[in-house]
C-alpha cells in the first residue's frame, strides 16, 4: 500500500528526483532562516553567556568524524543531483565511502553525547545544572536528537535496500525516504554546528 501511495505521489509530482530537487532550495533556505532568526533572537535577548564545558579529545574526534562524513555525503549527493539529476559514477562511489564512515561514527556520537544532550523538564535554574548538561544549548540538543533519528532512518533505508526483500517500488520508496532523511541530517548538522559554534563566539 505504501509503495502504491509512493508511486501515486511521485507520479503526481513528476518524478522522485525532480520533486527532491525542487524541494532542496526551500529546505536549505529554511535552514538559513532558522539560523538568522535564532541569531537575531540571541542578540536581542543579550542573555548572560552560559559557560559550556570543554570537549575532550574523544568528543572532538567523534564530532569531526560525524561532520566530515555528513559533509561528504551531503556534498556528493546534493551536487550530483543538482548538476546531473542523478547520483552516479564517482559521486556515488565517494558517497558510498562517506556512508561507511557515517554508519561507523553515528553510534559513537550517540553513545558519547547522549547524556550531555538529555533534556530536562522543567529546566533547572541557571547555575544549578550539572556539568554534563551545560555542554549544549537547547537548539544543539534538539538538532542532536534529530541527527540521530534521521541518521537512523538514512542508515536503515540503505541497509534494507541492500537486502533482497523489496521489489522495485519498495526500493524506490526506500530511496525517497533515504533522500529526505539525508536532507534532514544535513540540515540538522548545519544547525547543530551553528549552535555549537555560537557559544564560542560569545553569543547564547
Amino acid at each position: 500500500m505504501l509503495a502504491q501511495w509512493n508511486v501515486a505521489v511521485i507520479g503526481a509530482a513528476g518524478s522522485a528526483g525532480e520533486t527532491f530537487v525542487s524541494i532542496l532550495p526551500f529546505a536549505l533556505l529554511g535552514v538559513l532562516v532558522v539560523v538568522v532568526a535564532h541569531l537575531l533572537l540571541a542578540l536581542a535577548r543579550r542573555r548572560a553567556v552560559v559557560s559550556r564545558s570543554p570537549w575532550g579529545w574523544w568528543a572532538w574526534l567523534v564530532y569531526l568524524g560525524t561532520l566530515a562524513s555528513v559533509a561528504v555525503l551531503g556534498i556528493t549527493s546534493l551536487v550530483a543531483v543538482i548538476r546531473f539529476g542523478i547520483l552516479d559514477g564517482w559521486w556515488l562511489f565517494i558517497h558510498m565511502f562517506g556512508a561507511g564512515a557515517f554508519t561507523f561514527v553515528l553510534p559513537l556520537l550517540a553513545l558519547t553525547w547522549c547524556e550531555a544532550n538529555r533534556c530536562e523538564c522543567p529546566a533547572r535554574p541557571a547555575g544549578d545544572e550539572g556539568p554534563q548538561t551545560t555542554r549544549f544549548s537547547c537548539l544543539a540538543k534538539t538538532m542532536f536528537w534529530l541527527i540521530l533519528t534521521a541518521g537512523l532512518v538514512v542508515i536503515g533505508t540503505m541497509v534494507l535496500s541492500m537486502l533482497p526483500l523489496f521489489g522495485t517500488h519498495g526500493l524506490e520508496l526506500l530511496l525517497d525516504v533515504h533522500r529526505y532523511a539525508g536532507l534532514a541530517v544535513v540540515a540538522a548538522m548545519i544547525l547543530h554546528l551553528y549552535a555549537t559554534v555560537l557559544p564560542r563566539l560569545g553569543v547564547g
Binding site: G89, C114, P122, I155, L163, G167, L171
Partner: protein, 684 residues
C-alpha cells in the same frame, strides 16, 4: 438507410469514383470475424489469367495475382520483411545483415539494403538483385529484390543515413548504376513474388527446401506453386541460355521453359484450389528464418536446449511480433515507432512486463526484481540479463538461419562454418547495455583517401582464382592449412635421427613441434599468397590512386612500399554487431539472480569476458576484445566499483550494529523523557 440516403450515396459514388473510403470500408472484402475464412479460390498467373489446374500447360500461380485479388498485396510490399529495397522505407534499428560469403576468396561481406552503419548496400558492391536472390533466396520470402519493376524507381540508391556516405566516390555510383541496369534473366525466371503461404500456410505441407531448390534452379515464378505442394515442375530455367526466347521455341526443341503439373487432389469441380490458411503464422514459419544454433565444444546439444520462455508459457511469436495488413511487423524493442502511428509500447519487454499503458498484456507477470536497485533499469536493457546465452568468459560461436542456411539439410553445422558469428557480446547503445551477436567483415577492397570500399566479389574471384587456387569443395582457409613440410624442414625440427621415423611412432612433443612448424609455414605461405593477391588486384581497381586492401578478422592488410604485407587498423575492419532478443531465459536463470556478485566482482564475465575475432583466413594472433572495452566502460572506475563490493557484507553488518546501537539509545532516552513527563504531570 433511407431511400434519400441511398440515392445520395449513389450520386456521390457516380460523381466521385476516386472518393476516399471511410475507415471502416475497404476495397477488399472482410469477414470481420476471428474465425478463419475457408479459402477455395481460383488461381491466377502473373499475367492475371485464370489458371485451369487440370490443363497440362497450366502456368504457375502468382501469389500477387491470386492472393492480391482479395488482399492488399501492394500494401504488404511496404511491410518490414519486404521493404528493405524501397527508398521510402525507414532503416529502423540495425539488425542481422545478409552476409555474402565466398569461401574461395575468404569473403564475408555484411549486406543490407537498409544501409545500416557497418553494412554495405548490395548495389554499391556490384551485387545485382538477381545475384542477391540467387544467393539468399533460400531465406527470402519473396518481394523486395525478387520483384524488380522499373529499375530507376526501385533500384535507386537510398539517401545515406550518415555523413560518411555523403563522401562516397564516383566509383560507387558507377557500380550502382551498373547493378541497377542489369536486367538479369528475369524474363525467363519470372519474378519472385512475396509468397504469402510461407508464413500463412496451416497445413504443414509448405516446404522451404522446395522453395530454395526452385530458386536455385532459377524457377522464381514456379517456386510458390512447388513449395506449397500445389504441383510439381519439370525443367529448370538455369539450363536455358541467356538468349532463349520462349516464343521461338518449337514443341520438341532442346530448350523450353519449365512446365507445371498441378496436384488434382486439392482442386474441386469448379477448378478452385483449397488453401489451408491461418491468419497468425505458426512459430514454425518464423523459425525457418529466425533460428540460431550455438556451436563449439562447450555448446549445449540441441536436444538439451530450451526454447524461449514465452513460447513455453503458451505465447506464439506472432503474439508479440504482430502487424497490420501492411505487414509492418513489430520488432518489440523499447521506443519502437510503428509506421501506422499505433502505440506498440506494450509489445516490448518493459512495456508489457513493467508498468504503463496496456502493461500486463497477455497475462505478463510484473517482476519484483527484489533487491535490484532501480538504477539498473537505466543502465541495462531487459535483454542484457534475460536474453540469449548467459554471458561467459569467452563469447561463443553461433550459427544463424540467415547466415548459415539453417533449415536446409546439410552435413556441416560445425563451428568452422563461415561466416563466424559470436554471442553474446555486451555493448552500450544510448547509455544502456544490450547483448549482441557480432561478426567480422572480410573482403577485398580498395582504399582511397582513407575510404575503404569492397570490390565486387565476383570480379575478385575471377581476378584471384589462379592466385588463391582454392580447390572445389575447399575453403580458402582449408587451402592455406593444406601445407606439408619438406624433408629438410622436418629434419630441422626433429633432427636427423627422428626425422625418418614414421609419424605414428613420434612422441606427443615431437608431433606438437611439427604442428607448430606447419602452422608457421602455413602463416608464411598465407602472407606470401596475400601479398601476391593484393598485387594482382590492382588490375581490377578502376579508381585512380586507390590501393588494394584485404580485410579480415578485425584487421586490414595492404602492401607496403617494399612489397611486404602491412597490417593496419581501419574502421571498415571493425566488427558489425546487432542486438539479440531471444531466446529469453526464465527468471531463475537471469543474470544477477545469484546476487550482486554475478556482475560486481573482479573477472566477472559481463565486464571481463573475452571476444575473439573469427577470420576466414589464417591469423596466429587474432584480435581479442574485452567486454568492457566494447561497452566503453572506464576500466579504472569499473575496478574501483567492483572492489568496493568486497566490503558490502561487512557494511551490512556494520549497518545492523549501528542501527541497533542508535535505536537503543533513542529508545532509552525516549523512555526517560516519557518518564520525566509523567513525573511532571503527576506533580501538576
Amino acid at each position: 438507410m433511407s431511400r434519400y440516403a441511398r440515392g445520395a450515396s449513389l450520386l456521390l459514388w457516380l460523381a466521385c469514383p476516386g472518393a476516399v473510403l471511410s475507415a471502416a470500408e475497404s476495397r477488399f472484402a472482410h469477414t470481420g470475424s476471428r474465425s478463419q475464412y475457408v479459402h477455395w479460390i481460383d488461381l491466377y498467373d502473373a499475367n492475371q489469367r485464370r489458371i485451369d489446374p487440370t490443363d497440362p500447360k497450366a502456368s504457375p500461380y502468382s501469389p500477387s495475382r491470386t492472393c492480391g485479388r482479395c488482399h492488399d498485396y501492394e500494401a504488404m510490399t511496404r511491410g518490414h520483411h519486404f521493404n528493405a529495397i524501397l527508398d521510402s522505407a525507414s532503416p529502423g534499428r540495425p539488425g542481422e545483415p545478409w552476409i555474402w560469403t565466398d569461401t574461395r576468396t575468404g569473403t564475408q561481406l555484411p549486406l543490407s539494403y537498409r544501409r545500416w552503419p557497418g553494412t554495405y548496400d548490395p548495389r554499391e558492391v556490384g551485387i545485382s538483385n538477381w545475384d542477391f536472390v540467387l544467393k539468399f533466396g533460400r531465406h527470402l520470402p519473396g518481394g523486395g529484390p525478387g520483384t524488380p519493376s522499373a529499375p530507376a524507381a526501385d533500384q535507386a540508391v537510398k539517401p545515406a543515413p550518415s555523413a560518411e556516405a555523403a563522401a562516397e566516390g564516383e566509383s560507387k555510383q558507377a557500380a550502382t548504376d551498373s547493378a541497377a541496369a542489369d536486367p538479369g534473366r528475369w524474363k525467363l525466371s519470372g519474378k519472385l513474388d512475396i509468397d504469402c503461404m510461407i508464413c500463412h500456410s496451416n497445413d504443414h505441407q509448405y516446404s522451404m527446401e522446395l522453395w530454395s531448390k526452385q530458386i536455385e534452379d532459377q524457377n522464381f515464378a514456379w517456386a510458390p506453386t512447388v513449395a506449397a505442394g500445389l504441383g510439381f515442375v519439370n525443367g529448370k530455367v538455369s539450363g536455358l541460355p541467356d538468349d532463349f526466347d520462349p516464343a521461338k521455341v518449337e514443341e520438341n526443341a532442346r530448350h523450353k521453359l519449365p512446365t507445371t503439373t498441378y496436384m488434382t487432389g486439392r482442386v474441386n469441380a469448379e477448378k478452385k484450389v483449397f488453401f489451408d490458411v491461418v491468419r497468425r503464422p505458426h512459430d514454425n514459419a518464423c523459425y525457418y528464418c529466425h533460428t540460431h544454433k550455438p556451436v563449439g565444444q562447450d555448446a549445449v546439444p540441441e536436444w538439451n536446449c530450451d526454447e524461449d520462455v514465452h513460447l513455453k508459457a503458451g505465447l506464439t511469436c506472432a503474439d508479440c511480433h504482430r502487424n497490420d495488413i501492411e505487414h509492418h511487423t513489430v520488432r518489440g524493442f523499447e521506443g519502437e515507432a510503428h509506421p501506422t502511428g499505433q502505440s506498440v509500447a506494450a509489445l516490448s519487454c518493459r512495456g508489457c512486463h513493467m508498468e504503463g499503458e496496456d502493461a500486463g498484456r497477455l497475462g505478463a507477470p510484473l517482476p519484483k526484481h527484489a533487491g535490484l536497485p532501480p538504477v539498473h533499469f537505466d543502465k541495462l536493457s531487459c535483454t542484457a540479463c534475460h536474453s540469449g546465452p548467459s554471458v561467459s568468459d569467452q563469447a561463443s560461436a553461433v550459427l544463424t538461419a540467415m547466415a548459415h542456411g539453417l533449415g536446409l539439410p546439410s552435413h556441416d553445422h560445425s563451428e568452422n562454418l563461415v561466416p563466424g558469428i559470436v554471442e553474446p557480446v555486451l555493448k552500450r547503445d544510448g547509455g544502456m547495455l544490450y547483448p549482441h551477436r557480432m561478426t567480422w567483415p572480410a573482403f577485398w577492397g580498395a582504399l582511397h583517401e582513407g575510404q575503404l570500399n569492397p570490390l565486387p566479389p565476383e570480379e575478385v574471384q575471377t581476378a584471384l582464382r589462379n592466385t588463391l587456387r582454392v580447390r572445389r569443395g575447399q575453403t580458402l582457409k582449408d587451402t592455406l592449412l593444406d601445407v606439408k613440410l619438406t624433408k629438410d624442414e622436418k629434419l630441422a625440427v626433429l633432427g636427423e635421427a627422428r626425422a625418418a621415423v614414421a609419424e605414428a611412432e613420434l612422441t606427443e612433443e615431437e608431433k606438437a613441434q611439427l604442428d607448430e612448424r606447419i602452422s608457421q609455414k602455413a602463416q608464411e605461405e598465407f602472407q606470401a599468397k596475400l601479398a601476391k593477391a593484393l598485387g594482382e588486384l590492382k588490375a581490377i581497381i578502376k579508381q585512380e590512386g586507390a590501393e588494394p586492401v584485404y580485410v579480415a578478422g578485425g584487421k586490414a592488410y595492404r602492401l607496403s612500399g617494399d612489397g611486404q604485407l602491412d597490417v593496419f587498423e581501419h574502421e571498415a575492419a571493425e566488427p558489425y554487431a546487432w542486438k539479440l532478443g531471444h531466446d529469453v531465459r526464465p527468471a531463475r536463470q537471469s543474470l544477477g539472480v545469484g546476487g550482486c556478485f554475478d556482475c560486481h566482482q573482479a573477472e566477472a564475465p559481463i565486464f571481463e569476458g573475452r571476444v575473439t575475432a573469427i577470420s576466414p583466413v589464417l591469423d596466429d594472433q587474432p584480435r581479442t576484445y574485452v567486454m568492457y572495452e566494447l561497452a566503453g566502460f572506464d576500466k579504472f572506475k569499473l575496478d574501483a566499483w567492483n572492489q568496493s563490493f568486497q566490503g558490502r557484507t561487512l557494511f551490512k553488518w556494520l549497518g545492523f550494529t549501528s542501527l541497533g546501537v542508535v535505536s537503543l539509545v533513542l529508545m532509552w532516552y525516549a523512555m526517560r523523557g516519557l518518564a520525566g513527563l509523567a513525573g511532571v504531570c503527576r506533580k501538576v
